[in-house]
Structures are given as C-alpha cells and as structure tokens.
C-alpha cells in the first residue's frame, strides 16, 4: 500500500485551507493539489526534434454553497499559495463560518509501475523513435514519410475535503504514436497507430515498433482504396478503437451532468431497454494498466467498475460527487479534471462493450452487402440530440459475406438511440485502445474497447458520386 501523492499536501495545512475556504459559509470545501511532470519528443524526416520537458504544480480550491460552486486555482503549492486560493474561492460568499471535519487519511493503491519512465535515459526514448521510423519506412517503397512521437507524464495528486476525506494518487502514463504517408502518383494516403497505458516503460518490452508497421500498412492499403459507398447499409465495426463509437454515441449521454440537464437522449431512459439483450457495457476506471485507469478519481473517490447497460437495459449513469448528491446516490468515481486548473465533471474512464458470443468471421459472413469500419479517425456527438458523425480511416466493402476492397473517406452518421438499438451482433474477440477525450474544454485520457460489433443499418456518407 502506498500513499500515492498524499505527501503533496500536509494535512495540517490542508485543514487550515479548508477552514479558510468555509470562512464565509458553504456546505462543502475541497483542496486538490497536483504536481505534473512530463517529457515528449518526436521524430520527423528521420530527425529527433520537438524535445520538450516540463513540470507544473498548483492547487484548486472549491466551495459549494447551494447550487453554486466557487472555484479558484493557483500555481505553486506553498501554504501561502493554497491559502490565497481558499480566500479567493470564499470571497464571493456572504454566509456564516462553517467548520470542516478533521481529516482522516485513506489508503489507496496506485497502479503499479515497474520501470518509471523518468529513470530511463532520454537517449533510449530517442532510439525507440528511430526504431519506429525505420519500421514504417521499410514497409514499402511507396511509404514517403514517417513520423512518430513519444510521451510520458507523471501526475501526483492529493485531495482533501471538508467531509474529512484525505486521499492521493500517483499516476504514470506512457504513449507512443506512429504516422505514415504513402504516395503513388497523385494519390496520397495516411495511416496512424498508437500504443499507450497507465504503465511504465515496461509497456514497450514487446516489439513496440509493430505500431509503425501497422500505420504504414494502413496507408499502403488506402492507396488501393476506391470510393466509399453511400447510403444505408449494415456496418460492421472493428474492435479496440471501434469502441469510440460506443464512447461517443452512448457514453457521453450517460454522464450525469448531461442527464440531469435534460441534455442527454438517455435522460428518461433509466431501466428501459435501449439495446438488444446481447449487449452489456461497462465503465471501469480500475482496469489494470489501462490508459483511462486511476486509483481514485479527482475528487478522491476510488474508481470502480460500473455496469451501464445490462442485457440491453440501461441500468446506470456516471457520477461525480455533485451530480450523485443531486440524484441521492453515491459517486461512481467518475469525477475527473484535466488539471488543478479545472473543476471536476462527470467523465468516462475506460468504457467498453463486454465481449459477446458471436465469432467475428460470422458477424461479417452474414452480411451480403455492407461496410466494414475497421478503425476510426475520431468522432463527434451532440448528447442532447444524439446526432453523431464518425470519420472512418480504415474501411472496406463487405460483399457476399467477405471483406473485399478498401474504401477511402467514409463517414458514418446517425442517431445514437437508433444505432445502439440496431446492434445485432457482438463479437467474442475483445481489446482496448487509448484515446484523448474532450469535454467542456478539458482533455482526459480514456480507454475504449469492444470486439467486432454489427449495426444492422447505418448511414454511410461516402465519396461515391
């Protein structure tokens, strides 16, 4: 058992800060302290460049009074900095002093890191990028360019609040990415692949440069691609990052802030069937080593595995403290923030469709004419209307139950309620991928996952005239 990042905050100082934050009233006060340090580098034109190294520390103090949150943040962790933030947060309140509970330290278990990346020489990281560069370039004569990037970040956090909670976490993440550009005459296509986790440098023990080969293979495949079909048809979505479809079209609508404001198509659907019985889905912030995992969320609540859809029925939303209080339930450990400079809001962690029973070959084999979206470039959804759009960066035609020629430039558009209900097969294969999710101007690391999944009918916005 480690104490995570608790040493960032002296409990005696935290108690003083919380008392000052409540000096003009309020039902709840919290101080969130953070130290973050990171290194990023890139290779482009086979040259190591953009080497950036930095560290930031600071704290955010919030006071809740009625329906209003008062928030202030400061750079620096000196007791004087923290007290200044507390005074600033309290300055707009006009009530009587409230008294915080004495702090009691919680035990947390940060994700184990075998080889802290900061202990690995920077030259080794540069060498890793050179391996990626070579692997992409050796994939074929039509590979015209390759780039790759490496990033490591450590976030130590400590949280103390007026309910007496005092907790911490120590988070290390590493991630590499590879991009390749292939050219044949006037045709130019790109491919990309990433590998990341809440892990140390041990993540790169097993042939990390394979992602560069994958990126190159995607770009080369697209050189042979024809236009994408247009219209409504069965769509088979690939595993791993294919899960971003579920993340966008359903996950965001399950975040309790959207739900409570009526800004989610799932607002009035709790307990109802929203999918066919073959679909069960979770959000799990505790998956070992996954990109979206942490020991606690950014309000000190331990992360947990939350079932959101059970056999097709909507059974749960994702809560932070405030939205949980509003619904009279417990936080699900989904109160996350990009840094001490922001307020926590309900966010996904690792969100996935649980493995089903179908064989991936059968899922495709049953489609006479359709589209196979093996991987996405990304997507966007309006949680209030449920309308979404996804860019497919690796897509193929399905003809006569077989994956045939690659297609370029396809887009999937639809509405989440209809698309989720139209999932009629979930594969027994399963894997996770990494993503960066933006909401309210805050970006946090999230995991997405699933096996192959089939949507009976969906609109493909193609490039075919």
């Amino acid at each position: 058992m480690s104490q995570g990042g608790q040493e960032l905050l002296d409990p005696a100082v935290a108690e003083i800060v919380l008392a000052r934050a409540l000096s003009h009233g309020g039902e709840f006060a919290e101080v969130f302290a953070e130290r973050r340090a990171g290194l990023t580098l890139a290779i482009d034109e086979s040259r190591i460049e953009s080497v950036q190294s930095g560290a930031e520390e600071g704290a955010g103090v919030r006071v809740l009074s009625g329906a209003t949150t008062y928030f202030a943040h400061v750079d620096g962790l000196d007791p004087a900095d923290l007290e200044r933030a507390a005074d600033e947060a309290a300055s707009a309140l006009r009530g009587d002093r409230a008294v915080p509970q004495p702090l009691s330290a919680e035990e947390t278990s940060p994700q184990p890191i075998e080889r802290p990346p900061e202990e690995v020489p920077a030259a080794r990281k540069a060498e890793l990028l050179r391996e990626l560069d070579e692997r992409a370039r050796s994939a074929g004569g039509e590979i015209e360019q390759a780039t790759a990037s490496y990033g490591e970040a450590r976030r130590e956090v400590a949280v103390a609040n007026s309910d007496g909670l005092f907790s911490g976490d120590d988070r290390t993440r590493v991630r590499i990415g590879a991009q390749a550009v292939a050219r044949r005459g006037d045709r130019v296509e790109t491919g990309a692949e990433t590998l990341g986790g809440h892990r140390g440098f041990e993540l790169f023990d097993d042939d990390p440069a394979a992602i560069a080969a994958t990126a190159a293979r995607k770009a080369l495949t697209l050189l042979d691609a024809g236009p994408a079909p247009t219209g409504s048809m069965p769509v088979v979505v690939g595993g791993g990052f294919g899960g971003v479809l579920f993340h966008e079209m359903t996950g965001h609508g399950l975040e309790a802030d959207h739900v409570q404001k009526g800004a989610s198509v799932y607002s009035d659907k709790l307990g109802e069937m929203v999918a066919q019985p073959l679909l069960t889905a979770y959000d799990d912030g505790g998956m070992p080593g996954e990109w979206g995992s942490d020991a606690i969320d950014d309000e000190g609540t331990p992360t947990q595995k939350t079932r959101v859809i059970e056999d097709g029925r909507l059974v749960g939303f994702l809560y932070d403290r405030q939205s949980a209080d509003r619904d009279g339930v417990a936080s699900t450990g989904n109160g996350r923030r990009e840094s001490f400079r922001q307020l926590p809001i309900p966010r996904m962690t690792n969100t996935y469709i649980a493995p089903g029973e179908a064989e991936p070959e059968a899922i495709i084999g049953e489609v006479e004419k359709g589209f196979y979206a093996a991987s996405f470039a990304g997507g966007q959804v309006d949680p209030a209307t449920g309308d979404f759009v996804f860019g497919v960066n690796e897509g193929y035609l399905i003809e006569g139950g077989r994956v045939t020629r690659p297609c370029r430039g396809a887009t999937l558009v639809g509405n989440c309620l209809q698309a989720l209900a139209a999932i009629d097969a979930v594969g027994n294969d399963f894997w996770m991928k990494t993503g960066m999710c933006g909401k309210g101007g805050q970006k946090v690391p999230v995991g997405t996952g699933q096996g192959h999944v089939r949507i009976a009918a969906m609109t493909v916005g193609g490039t075919e005239a």
């Binding site: 329906a67 928030f71 404001k261 558009v413």
Partner: protein, 451 residues
C-alpha cells in the same frame, strides 16, 4: 522592464550559463474568470491567476524546450537544466536557430480594455444570466439552456531572446456563449449563440441568447435530405471552420514537409476570384492580434489568396530560413508549455457585395449549411479531401426552407475554394479552431449525402 520581462531575462541568462548557445524565454501571466449559469442560477464562478515560463535553447543546431510554473530563481534554474538536457537528445538541424531581428515593432491599439477589471463577479454573472434568460423567453419551444458561459482573461506576455529579438504586450479578451435546447416532435434540438469582445461591455447578451434560441428552434422537425449535388451556402461559422483548416494548409511547415494540399501550388490558381484571404496579425478585432508573434518577430498583414492565386505561405523564422524566405510573423504557440510553430494569426475572408438573402436567391435550390461536425476526423490534412457531418436548411425558391440533419458533405479544400461563387457582405469573427473572420459563402456545387 516589467517583473515578467525580468524573469524571462533571468531565464535566458540561466540557460546560457547551463550551456546553451542561444536561448529564448516566453513568460506569460494571466488573470482569468469564468461564470457558468443554469436554470437562472450561478452554477460556478471561477477565478484564477496563472503564470509560467517556456525556454527554447539552441546548442550547435540542436533545439530543446523546457517549461515550468515555478519562477523562483531555483525554479528557473530547473527549467534551464531541462531545456539544455532536452537539446542534447535532439538531432542537429542546419536551419535551427533563434530568429533574426527584423523590422520595427508595430504599435497595435485596442488589444487591452482595462474596463474588464471594473466588472465585479456579480455583474458578469448577471450578463451570463441575461444570455440564458433571453433564450428562454424568446420562444416557448425553448425547453432549457444546457449552459450559458461567460469567460474573460487579461494576459501579459514577455519574450526575451539572446539574439535581441523580443518584446512585451498586454491583451484582454471576453466571450460568452450558450447552448439552447428546443423541444421538437422528434426530440431535442440544440443551438449555439456566441459573441466575443475585448471587454464585457462589448458583448450583447440579448443577441447571444436570441441566436442560440433561433438556431435551436429552426432545427425542429428536421429530416434527412436526399443525396445529390447542388449549390450550398455556408453559414459564417461553417465557412470559418473550413478557413481554419486552410490556415493550416498555408503554413510553410506543412508545405516544406510535404503535408499540405497546397504544397507545390504557390502562384497557381487555387480559388475562385470571389474568395480573397488575408492573414492579419494586427487587426485588434481578432483575438490573435499582437505587436509580435510567439518568437518576437513583428506581426503583419499578409495576402494569402487574391485574384484566385496563392500568393505566399505563412512563415516563422525556422521555415523562412529553410525556405529562403522571410518570416511573416506567424510563429504561434498554445501558451508557455509548447515551443512556437507556424500558425495563422487572424484569417480574414474579404466580404463581397451580396447580402445573405441575395446569396440564397442566387443558390435558388440547394442547401444552407448551419453546422458541421467531425472536422477533426473527417479531413485528410495532406490531401485536403474531406467528408464531414452537417446540418442545416433546404434552400427552395431562393429562401431557407425545411431543416435538414444527418447528412454529409464531401469535397476537397481546393475544389471547394474554386467553386466559391460569391462571398456575403456581412462577415463575423469566429473563435473556434483559430481566429477567423468570414462572411457566408455561396459554393456553386457540392456533394450532399443523405438518404
């Protein structure tokens, strides 16, 4: 010299002492405020001061970057050590080096409006509440406002370099927006309203609220259009989004590395004559305006596309040296955490003579695009080929008719620019994905994919 500039000077000295051949420090401090309101109540009120320093160092053609928030002398020493260590990992680049001193620094009036500080938290909260209330009262079909947000910032930036380039400036910025929700037969519709200015007095809460409400209610009853090729009119916000993409394509860095659809097209015809584009780092109405760019080179106004031809690319000091050109003062950066790179400043599409009504009449039978989604995933940045989700209105008999949703538009950047038939007479500043001023644009023909 301000305290901030002194800290930046100290950082440059520390870097040189730690082994850097040349060094450049970028220090910033900002006071930010944000109010979020919902349901007639203040949901959150945030206030913050933020400061940090980024240090770029050059050692024998190798570049390194360090940054941090601890600006004590020990903290700055650590930043310098990080930057020097980073440079030793990088490979040599013959074009790397600090910017050369160039030209006079222009004076730019109107960047900072001190009246921002005279608005206490209660008054800016009232402004945000007025935005929400206007939307709720403007139409009975507005069921709620997801949130109304007010944000303001006062920032000071100091850049100091061992090569004597640099400067300091202050700027204020404010914006407010809301997301209104309308109740339709087939579920809810959302509408965005926004405005930006240098001080809260420059914002019109009533106009923001009305815009959000109108954009939400006009989508009620929307249907999927049939697939076809037809004239389209781009809303200024949509035109601005595409111009933001174009701003990346005209960056010399993307061009030199062979990752721009405009590479090899300098001097060629890339647009219709109706489409005229400038980059103007000196127009104080745009939030990217400043006397100097992110590495201390004077900002300026640059003609990018005129008479249909691509006139120049945008340069910072690195791409200028590499391309035997002159920096156009287009080094940008997203704060002290990242080193400068080529970026458009304020992109300005010249307005034309036609009102929006005239554009619609000229389109006759087509589609008005209100909003696009998925620009970050639906565009190939190397080729400019795109397919993005869209929503809007049918254009029938030269007027806006039934609302449309769940369709895509596809083309490529250059084909779209060549198909511009007219620019509208009423431009608007749009701060998403860059700082762009754009009027509505009539595109002669585009592929619309629906049912």
């Amino acid at each position: 010299m301000s305290a901030l500039a002194e800290q930046a000077t100290g950082a440059v000295e520390q870097a040189v002492a730690a082994g850097a051949g040349d060094a450049e420090a970028y220090a910033s401090e900002a006071e930010n405020r944000e109010v979020r309101v919902h349901g007639g109540e203040v949901e959150s009120l945030a206030a913050a001061t933020q400061r940090g320093l980024g240090l770029r160092v050059w050692i024998d053609g190798r570049v390194g970057y360090g940054f941090g928030t601890d600006l004590s002398s020990r903290g700055v020493e650590t930043i310098a050590a990080r930057a020097v260590e980073a440079a030793r990992v990088a490979d040599e680049d013959e074009f790397a080096g600090p910017p050369d001193a160039e030209g006079e620094r222009p004076a730019v009036a109107g960047l900072s409006d001190p009246s921002r500080g005279e608005w206490p938290p209660a008054q800016i909260a009232d402004l945000a509440l007025a935005v929400e209330q206007t939307a709720l009262e403007s139409d009975s079909r507005i069921a709620a406002v997801e949130q109304a947000v007010y944000f303001d910032s006062a920032e000071r930036v100091a850049i100091v370099s061992s090569s004597a380039v640099g400067g300091e400036y202050e700027a204020t910025s404010c914006y407010a927006y809301l997301q209104a929700l309308a109740e339709g037969e087939n579920g809810r519709e959302t509408g965005l309203g926004f405005d930006l200015a240098r001080s809260p007095a420059g914002l019109d809460p009533v106009a923001i609220g009305r815009e959000g409400a109108e954009r939400a209610t006009e989508m009620i009853g929307s249907i999927k259009p049939a697939s076809r090729s037809c004239p389209v009119v781009l809303d200024p916000t949509v035109a601005a989004s595409f111009v933001g993409l174009l701003g990346k394509a005209v960056g010399a860095d993307a061009v030199q590395r062979g990752r721009s659809p405009l590479a090899e097209r300098l001097g060629e015809e890339v647009a219709a004559e109706a489409f005229v584009l400038h980059d103007d780092g000196l127009d104080p109405d745009g939030f990217a305006a400043a006397p100097i760019d992110a590495e201390g080179t004077p900002r300026r106004r640059t003609t990018l596309i005129e008479a249909g031809r691509l006139r120049t690319f945008l340069h910072d000091s690195y791409t200028a040296r590499r391309g035997a050109a002159v920096s156009t003062g287009n080094a940008g950066r997203s704060g002290y955490r990242s080193p400068p790179g080529v970026a458009a400043s304020n992109l300005i599409v010249s307005p034309g003579a036609a009102s929006l009504e005239q554009l619609l009449r000229e389109a006759g039978d087509g589609v008005y695009i209100n909003d696009v989604a998925g620009l970050h995933s639906g565009v190939n940045p190397v080729t400019g080929v795109f397919s993005v989700g869209a929503s809007g209105r049918a254009i029938r008999g030269g007027e806006r008719a039934e609302p449309l949703r769940e369709f895509t538009i596809a083309s490529d950047l250059v084909s779209m620019l060549r198909a511009v038939r007219a620019a509208g007479s009423e431009p608007r500043w749009v701060p998403f994905g860059g700082s762009v001023s754009a009027p509505p644009l009539l595109i002669g023909e585009m592929t619309v994919s629906g049912s």
